[in-house]
Each structure stands twice: as structure tokens, then as C-alpha cells.
């Protein structure tokens, strides 16, 4: 089986992306997002589809929800041994699926709700998130046949090889309720059969769906790997997820500041700003110059309580944003938004490099 990252092969791909976010925290089922992404069927080729939902596990919201693919029982045994050693596992189950004629060769798909072992966490002298992310990286790098594809709290990623609408139905996403959904349909330029290669890609609660092929890939990868990340999959999405994790979680930048790093304004634009803004943008761009992402991309980053959409600086990929009351829709094509919301209050195309960020006004309802 060809697999992302093996033999050092890098697979470019085109794609469709879509996101729904409710600022009032109202949770809706996965049916809408499936309908929306299905409209953009032509933008995928059946070789990868996936979804991320936020607010789907209210009863376990304090626990990290690990979604794991296993190639076989042996991998599962090894991985569970590792999990039991480092975490308190409060719930373990297969992720419910429904047979679908077009979704084949599924791995074993399990879900664990976990918290770091208190004694282990204490002696590691790391914060809870760092501890958890290191463990996830360890499993994905060292345990053959096990792959953690979702590891956030009160959120989950669901992905497979197939068209996204079929993947949604396979995972029965109409039975989950989320205040934020993102979706992805993949058009890779080879024929991988590995489910882990589909999007979204996530680390802790930050998930990325992405359309494009970034030309700065190796510059970004070689830089971010200095900070302990391992880009095992050699996909653009993976490196973008790590960059956001580094800038936001580790360094404490806001999502908007992180956007000024990865899609930094042109120097000519920076020069036109007032003194303070010019200094700020110059500082961010210069300090993190190796994290500038060039080449076409549109991404939707989901995180706890918010969503960010961002295009590359030249806007080489289409992306529109629509609003209807508290609901926000983001999509590669407007058709997907119109399919699920016919009377939008507003719809517009964000400029290249302009981050569109929405956060919850209050809690989740």
C-alpha cells in the first residue's frame, strides 16, 4: 500500500474545503456539512474525505478524545499498552460506522477518552497539552500500524479514503451535534490507500483542512522540525497544523498574529502602514520568516471555540465566506453554502492573506 510519508514521497493534491460555525454555540448535526461538501463532488476524486466536529462530546468534554486507526490487532495491543501506561482511559469503544459500498478496506477504528496519568504528568514537568501531544507524536512515529488521527478535547476528526459524502455517511455524522464543522474532499495526484492521509489533519484540538500545494513546504518543514515536530506524512496540511500549534499554543501568538506570519503581507504593504503597525508586522515576518507559506492555499483551521479561514497572499485558491445570523459558512465554492443556506445576510470573498476569524460569543448551547 502506498502511504503518505513512506519512501519520502510527497503527494500534492487539489481539494474542496468547507466549514460551518455557529457563533451562538448552537450545535447542529453533521447532515448540513455533508450536503455542502457533496455539492463540490467534482473537486475530489474519491481518494480522501473527512470532517472535524467541535462540541460533539459534551459528556466527556474534560477528556482528550483519541481517534485511532489500527492496521491489525497487534498494533492495537501495543498501542493500548502504551496508552494505559501514560493515560487514564475512562472510555474505550469502536467508533460506530455503517457499511458503505464505496468505503472499503477500513482499518480498525477506535476511540478512547483519556487524561494523562497524574503522577506521570507531574514527573514529566510538562503541561497537560504538551504531554499529550508528545505522546501522540510518539505513537504515530514509533508504533507501527497505529495512527492517532484525532486528539483534542470535545472534538473529533472522522476521515477515510472515499468521497467525503460517503465518508460522512460511513461515520454516521448525522448522529453527532457540533457548533463547528469542517469538511474536506481530496484530489491527490496518486493513488494512496491509507486512511491517515485524508484530511482534516489535527493535533490536540487544532484541526486543519486545506486546499492547495505550498511551494515553501521544505523550508517550513525543515524549520518546524527544529522544535520537535516530525513531519512523518510529508503533506502540506501536516506542516500547517504544526506551524499553527507552534505559533499559537507554544509561543502564545493569537490566530490573527499567526496569520500575519504564515500569510505575511507583502513588504510594500507593510511599508504603507503606520509606524507601530509596521514595526509589529516587520517583527512577525522577520522573526518567523521561515514559516511564511507561499504557493496556493486555502485553509480552515478549527480550534476550541473558534474557526479561522485563510488564503495565501495572492489568493490562488477560491474561498468564500457567508453569514446568516449567528451562523457562518466558509467554502471553496459559494454553491456549497447556497445549498444549505439560501438566504444569506452577506457573502464575500476574503482577500489573499486576510484571516477570517470567528469565535463563540458565549458558551456552547
Amino acid at each position: 500500500m502506498q502511504r503518505e510519508g513512506t519512501d519520502n514521497y510527497r503527494i500534492p493534491s487539489g481539494c474542496a474545503i468547507c466549514g460551518i460555525f455557529n457563533r451562538d454555540g448552537k450545535r447542529i448535526s453533521g447532515s448540513d456539512i455533508i450536503q455542502a461538501i457533496a455539492i463540490m463532488h467534482e473537486r475530489s476524486n474519491g481518494l480522501g474525505g473527512g470532517f472535524a466536529g467541535y462540541g460533539i462530546y459534551p459528556e466527556y468534554k474534560e477528556y482528550y478524545a483519541f481517534h485511532i486507526f489500527y492496521d491489525d490487532d497487534r498494533a492495537k495491543v501495543t498501542c493500548e499498552e502504551y496508552l494505559n501506561k501514560h493515560f487514564d482511559v475512562v472510555n474505550l469503544s469502536r467508533i460506530p460506522t455503517k457499511k458503505h459500498p464505496k468505503i472499503v478496506n477500513e482499518p480498525l477504528i477506535f476511540r478512547y477518552f483519556v487524561l494523562p496519568h497524574p503522577a506521570d504528568l507531574f514527573s514529566s514537568q510538562l503541561d497537560e497539552q504538551e504531554y499529550t501531544s508528545l505522546c501522540v507524536t510518539r505513537i504515530n512515529t514509533d508504533i507501527e500500524g497505529a495512527y492517532v488521527f484525532s486528539s483534542g478535547k470535545n472534538m473529533g476528526v472522522f476521515k477515510a479514503v472515499g468521497y467525503p459524502e460517503d465518508v460522512g455517511s460511513f461515520y454516521k455524522l448525522d448522529e453527532y451535534n457540533a457548533y463547528c464543522w469542517t469538511a474536506h474532499g481530496r484530489y491527490p495526484t496518486n493513488t494512496p490507500g491509507w486512511w491517515g492521509g485524508a484530511h482534516p489533519f489535527s493535533l490536540l484540538d487544532c484541526s486543519i483542512v486545506h486546499n492547495g500545494e505550498i511551494s515553501s513546504y521544505d523550508a517550513n518543514r525543515r524549520y518546524i522540525e527544529m522544535f520537535g515536530y516530525k513531519c512523518n506524512l510529508l503533506t502540506d496540511t501536516e506542516v500547517i497544523a504544526y506551524i499553527l500549534d507552534f505559533l499559537v499554543r507554544k509561543l502564545g501568538l493569537t490566530y490573527s498574529e499567526a496569520a500575519s506570519v504564515i500569510a505575511a503581507p507583502f513588504w510594500s504593504t507593510i511599508d504603507r502602514k503606520d509606524k507601530e503597525e509596521k514595526e509589529r508586522l516587520t517583527y512577525l515576518r522577520n522573526t518567523f520568516s521561515s514559516l511564511l507559506i507561499t504557493g496556493p492555499f486555502s485553509i480552515i483551521a478549527g480550534f476550541s471555540g473558534g474557526i479561522m479561514a485563510l488564503n495565501d497572499r495572492l489568493k490562488l485558491r477560491s474561498m468564500v465566506v457567508g453569514e446568516k445570523g449567528p451562523a457562518v459558512y466558509i467554502s471553496s465554492e459559494e454553491s456549497a453554502i447556497r445549498k444549505i443556506c439560501k438566504d444569506l445576510d452577506s457573502v464575500y470573498s476574503p482577500r489573499g492573506g486576510e484571516p477570517v476569524i470567528y469565535t463563540l460569543r458565549g458558551g456552547i448551547s
Binding site: F227, G252, F266, E279, T287, S289, S290, T294, L314
Partner: protein
């Protein structure tokens, strides 16, 4: 003594039917090759003095001259070549060290020529630099990752001093003394006009050129020639020269004949004395000493100027660079074994050091593995010959490049490799007034500006082809390179894959 006869390297072919005996060749040749034979009424030449600098060929009004390789030969021998036999004769006769100038001319592999650049097709659009912004602006200096904020949450910049370049190319160190006043003026004015930097070399800074300070790197070498507080503060950055690619491990020697009144004043040494830089800095015998000099220079410049440490590319260059990256220095400059020089012993120039491509790849990888790549910027030189070399250097991991030989070529140098003689017919590597005035700085600076602008255009075209619209996204982006005709080990060191992979 016939045994001392050295076959001249070149033959001067003069078309007597074209020659009008204007004697311009005679007047132009500082080596006194040409003269007019009163008896035969023709121009004749003493070929033994010819260095093939092409001055006479270029200025002959009737194109009557050409200089060709002397066909006279020793009996063919794959081991004992004509050059080696001749060198033995010379040394048997003089008992001296053989001298030469400019970079290593031997046929070692040029890795730049074994690297190929990528371009976008279908999955990713190429970008047209004529229609879209294409950015080459480069900052050099340490980058710190800690984010500091004030009470209102605004980010406070904690970056140390940075050098800002409009394009990632600088003129490498060449001293006033080894180069003429006019050559220095050309470099300084070009650097200012291009918003880049040139480098004083170890010869101090002529007072006329203090006005170009913001585009000047002032060098501190082992001889400390011309170093004083005002000098250190005159430039935009201070460079400690630990080594030079053309002659790693040895110091410099500027012959007394080049120490004229003006050069003497700038270097702060008496007229006519040899300027000899020691091989090591005698206050730096180890890495911890380097840290002290870096800090002394920072104190002397009030922590406002980045400090560059320049080293020659030698076998353990990555370990040395790792030490320097922890020494407080802001920038490491690495000079490859093909880098030029005003004068170096032939054996050292031709046999010591390693190619810059391998040194750069190895240093960049090492600093990243240790997580300290952002402690320093990397500048490489020796030798960068074209915009394609610049693109490849940056993709391997350099922040910027130094060029010197290419800059001299732009000023008219014909690479005859006899700078040490002080008789440069092109007015570049000489202090003889009649020769210096042959280089018009007005024209010289324009030609340098043209060269850098032309290269920058080409860099932008290549970046656009790769779908990259800012130079920092090319830096260290080794997937944009493929090797051709390289073995596994070479590919491993360069960190690139073979073409077709």
C-alpha cells in the same frame, strides 16, 4: 642559464597586416610585454611577461592581437603536467613559495553545476514576476522566539540588530590596498545604490568612504589594520575574519609596494612596509576566546551592530559553525575553497579547504539538528558565479551570498590571476596611479548595479517558476533542488534527492 628557461604560457599572435604601430598595446601593458622595434619598424612582444589579461587585445584599435595558449609543449605526461614541471623549475631557481591570485582554478567538482532547480506544473501555478510582487528583501541577524508583550498585550520587539538587504547578495571582503581606490569607490557606491552591503576587507576604511557607512561591513582581521573605534562604528556591521577560503589557515601579505601614502594612512602602518596579518588571531586560540572578541566588538559598538564571523570552509566546518552560533555572533560567513584572493601560496589555494556547497549544506543541517539555526544567519561565498548559484545556495540553506570575483569581473577583471604583482592593467588590483585611473568609478559602479539588478531579475524569474514569491520561502527549501550525476554520499551531505526521484 638555459635550465632556467620557462616556456611562456601564452603566445601573442599579432596580425602585422592589421597592426598600425599606434603602440597603444605598449602603453597599456604594465607588464612591459610589447615594444616597438626601431630597426624592423614593427611591434614585437616579450611573451614571457604576458599574463593574458587581455588589456592589449581589448584596446587594439584594429583588432590585430590575440593571445593563445602556447603550443610549445613538454612530452605528454598524465602525471607530470607542464604546470607541475614548470613549478619545479621555478622553485629550484628561486627557493621560494609560489604565489598566485584569485580562486582555486583546479578541476575539482563544481556542485552548483550538479544541482538542478524545480518549476511548477499543473498542481501549483508558477508566478509571473512582471505581474505579481516578487520579494527578495532579506534580513540578516539573530532571531529570538520568545514573544514579549507589554501590559496592553502589544508585542515588544526583542530582535537584536538586523541588516536589511534589498536582495540577498553582498560584496565580499576586499581590502583597500589590495584593491584600488577607484575599485573601492565603485563597490561602495553600488552597495548604496542597490541597498545592499559591501565589505572593507582587512585594510581599514578610507575616510572618503565613511559616507557609505550604512552600506558597509567593516572587517576586523588578525592584523587589526585600520581598526579603531570610529571605524567600528562607521559601518552597519562588524566582521571578524577568522579565515579565507582561498587560503585557510594562513594570514595575509600585502607587499610594501602597495602600501602607498593613502593606504598607509588607512591601515595605520608606515608607508612601504609589508602588511602581514598573522595566521591566527593571537587573542583567539579557542572558541571561548572568540566569544570574548564578539562581545568586545559588541560593547565597542553599543550592541547596535550585528557581528559577523567569517570562516573558511574546512573539514570540520559544521562543528566550528555550531560553536560560533553559540558565541553570540549574529551572522556566520563561510568562504569556500574556490573563493578569490589578492595573493596566496599556490599549493594552499589549490589544495586546502572544501567546496562551499558541501560546507553550506552540512552547516545548515547541523545547526537545524541542534535547533540553533535561528541563532545566526548564514552567508556563503567562494564562489558564487551567477544568479542560479545564488538560488541554489539559498535553497540549500543560505540567507544570503557574498560575491567578489564576479564583482571584479563586472569592473573589468579578466581573471589573469596576477593581482599579487600590483600591476593590474584594469586598474582594479593596483595602487599605481596611472593604472588606477583606468577604472572610472562612475562606470564601475553602474556596471556593478547592472550586474546585481540582472541577477535579481533572474532570481525572481526562477522563484516565480517554482511558485515562490518571497525569498524566505526558498531558504533551506531543498526539495526545490535535485542532484545530477552525484553519488549517494554526496546527495546525503547536500540533503537533496537525485533527479528523477
Amino acid at each position: 642559464m638555459p635550465i632556467n628557461y620557462i616556456i611562456p604560457q601564452f603566445e601573442i599572435v599579432r596580425d602585422q597586416s592589421r597592426c598600425i604601430k599606434c603602440r597603444v598595446c605598449e602603453r597599456q601593458c604594465a607588464n612591459e610585454v610589447h615594444h616597438y622595434d626601431e630597426d624592423y619598424k614593427i611591434m614585437v612582444a616579450d611573451e614571457s611577461k604576458c599574463v593574458n589579461c587581455h588589456r592589449c587585445v581589448a584596446l587594439c584599435p584594429t583588432s590585430a592581437l590575440k593571445i593563445v595558449k602556447n603550443q610549445d609543449s613538454f612530452k605528454e605526461n598524465g602525471n607530470w603536467t607542464a604546470e607541475i614541471i614548470t613549478d619545479v623549475y621555478k622553485q629550484a631557481s628561486s627557493g621560494g613559495v609560489l604565489l598566485s591570485s584569485m580562486g582555486n582554478p583546479m578541476k575539482f567538482p563544481v556542485y552548483w553545476d550538479k544541482l538542478l532547480i524545480n518549476a511548477s506544473q499543473v498542481t501549483n501555478p508558477s508566478i509571473d514576476p512582471l505581474r505579481e510582487p516578487m520579494e527578495t528583501k532579506t534580513f540578516l541577524g539573530q532571531k529570538k522566539h520568545e514573544i514579549k508583550r507589554d501590559n496592553e498585550g502589544r508585542i515588544i520587539s526583542n530582535l537584536g540588530p538586523q541588516l536589511e538587504l534589498s536582495t540577498p547578495i553582498m560584496f565580499s571582503a576586499m581590502s583597500y590596498g589590495s584593491l584600488s581606490y577607484n575599485a573601492h569607490e565603485s563597490l561602495a557606491r553600488a552597495a548604496k545604490s542597490l541597498s545592499i552591503l559591501y565589505n572593507t576587507g582587512e585594510g581599514g576604511l578610507h575616510e572618503d568612504f565613511y559616507q557609505y557607512g550604512s552600506n558597509t561591513i567593516v572587517q576586523v582581521a588578525s592584523g587589526r589594520f585600520g581598526v579603531h573605534k570610529d571605524y567600528l562604528n562607521a559601518g552597519a556591521a562588524v566582521e571578524i575574519k577568522m579565515g579565507q577560503g582561498a587560503k585557510p589557515g594562513i594570514g595575509g601579505h600585502l607587499p610594501g609596494t602597495k602600501i602607498t601614502e593613502d593606504v598607509s594612512k588607512t591601515r595605520m602602518i608606515p608607508v612601504g612596509t609589508d602588511a602581514i596579518s598573522p595566521a591566527p588571531h593571537h587573542d583567539i586560540y579557542s572558541i571561548e576566546d572568540l566569544n570574548q572578541l564578539v562581545m568586545s566588538l559588541k560593547h565597542a559598538t553599543d550592541f547596535k551592530k550585528p557581528v559577523i564571523v567569517k570562516i573558511a570552509a574546512v573539514h570540520n566546518v559544521s562543528a566550528i559553525a555550531s560553536g560560533i552560533a553559540r558565541s553570540g555572533a549574529d551572522i556566520i560567513a563561510i568562504d569556500g575553497f574556490r573563493g578569490g584572493t589578492g595573493a596566496a601560496p599556490v599549493r594552499i589555494r589549490d589544495n586546502v579547504g572544501i567546496p562551499i556547497e558541501l560546507a553550506l549544506a552540512s552547516v545548515d543541517t547541523r545547526l537545524r539538528n541542534e535547533g540553533i539555526r535561528d541563532n545566526v544567519s548564514l552567508v556563503v561565498g567562494g564562489s558564487i558565479r551567477s544568479s542560479a548559484d545564488v538560488v541554489k545556495a539559498i535553497a540549500l540553506g543560505a540567507d544570503a551570498v557574498y560575491i567578489a570575483t564576479a564583482a571584479l569581473l563586472a569592473l573589468g577583471c579578466h581573471l589573469c590571476r596576477t593581482c599579487y604583482s600590483g600591476k593590474c592593467n584594469w586598474g582594479i588590483a593596483t595602487q599605481r596611479e596611472d593604472l588606477v585611473k583606468r577604472l572610472n568609478p562612475e562606470i564601475g559602479y553602474e556596471r556593478l548595479v547592472n550586474l546585481i539588478n540582472a541577477w535579481t531579475h533572474e532570481i525572481k524569474e526562477m522563484m516565480g517558476g517554482m511558485g515562490i514569491n518571497s525569498i524566505e520561502a526558498l531558504r533551506g527549501n531543498r526539495l526545490m533542488l535535485r542532484g545530477i550525476g552525484l553519488n549517494e554520499k554526496e546527495l546525503e551531505i547536500l540533503g537533496v534527492r537525485h533527479a528523477g526521484e
